[in-house]
């Protein structure tokens, strides 16, 4: 942390959660990161997610958003694999 970093909360679901072995964890990312950069950082942290993250959408604070959405300290960033409810 400090001037150049911030902590956000990451949430994973379904195949992403199972493959990573966790559903939620804090992650330090550079200040000013957008959601797409967070998705990259998650893949750097869990290389086994590389294949799965490509088609994952992103939600910030429980709202769908684009990869260019700039995140803030404390935001909750969820990676959303292709949905299959119903």
């Amino acid at each position: 942390m400090g001037h150049f970093g911030m902590q956000i909360q990451v949430r994973l679901f379904a195949a992403l959660a199972e493959t990573a072995g966790t559903r939620a964890f804090p992650l330090d990312v550079p200040a000013g990161s957008d959601a797409g950069a967070v998705r990259e950082a998650v893949q750097a942290h869990f290389p086994q997610l590389r294949g799965l993250c490509g088609r994952a959408g992103i939600a910030v604070n429980a709202e769908y958003t684009g990869a260019d959405h700039v995140v803030k300290e404390g935001d909750e960033i969820a990676l959303i694999p292709p949905v299959s409810g119903g």
């Binding site: 959408g57 939600a59 769908y64 958003t65 959303i80 949905v83 409810g85 119903g86």
Partner: protein, 151 residues
């Protein structure tokens, strides 16, 4: 105008259709269409033993409400109620209920069908299929479009 979404429910308990139907029916309703999504014992040629549903609960509830509001705005109907279950579901159990009320039947059927399609495309819920030899998270619909279209 009052929201047409009257009951939105995401639960790990057995779904009961009665309160949904009661919540959508008004004295002006001539028709109620009710859809049950049910866990079936086969998929793509494989015998299925049970399913497990995962959900991003906060976003799923928000998204179910969005779908209901969207459907009320797009169709000549009265109200929409949606219930989705998560956790482990056995064969024959109900995973999804969608109830739509309308003065006339054609609009109720169309809107109910459209709501089910939209739920499957945009609500962050996932199913894992279990067979005798293992299981897999089913592939589904990428939510880029879902993220864009309601915004």
């Amino acid at each position: 105008m009052q929201s047409g979404a009257v009951l939105i429910q995401l639960t790990d308990e057995a779904l009961d259709p009665a309160p949904l139907v009661e919540s959508v029916r008004t004295d002006a309703s001539g028709a109620v269409a009710l859809f049950y999504g049910v866990v079936r014992d086969h998929n793509e040629g494989r015998k299925v033993l049970y399913l497990e549903y995962d959900a991003y609960r906060e976003l799923a509830e928000r998204q179910m409400r969005l779908v209901a509001d969207e459907i009320v705005a797009a169709h000549d109907i009265e109200r929409v109620a949606i219930a989705h279950r998560f956790g482990r579901l056995e064969i024959g159990e109900t995973s999804l209920l969608v109830a739509v009320s309308s003065a006339h039947r054609a609009a109720a059927f169309d809107a109910c069908h459209a709501a089910v399609d939209r739920i499957k495309q945009t609500v962050p819920i996932w199913k894992k299929e279990f067979w005798a030899e293992g299981g897999v998270w089913l592939d589904g619909t990428p939510v880029d479009s879902a993220g864009e279209s309601p915004a």
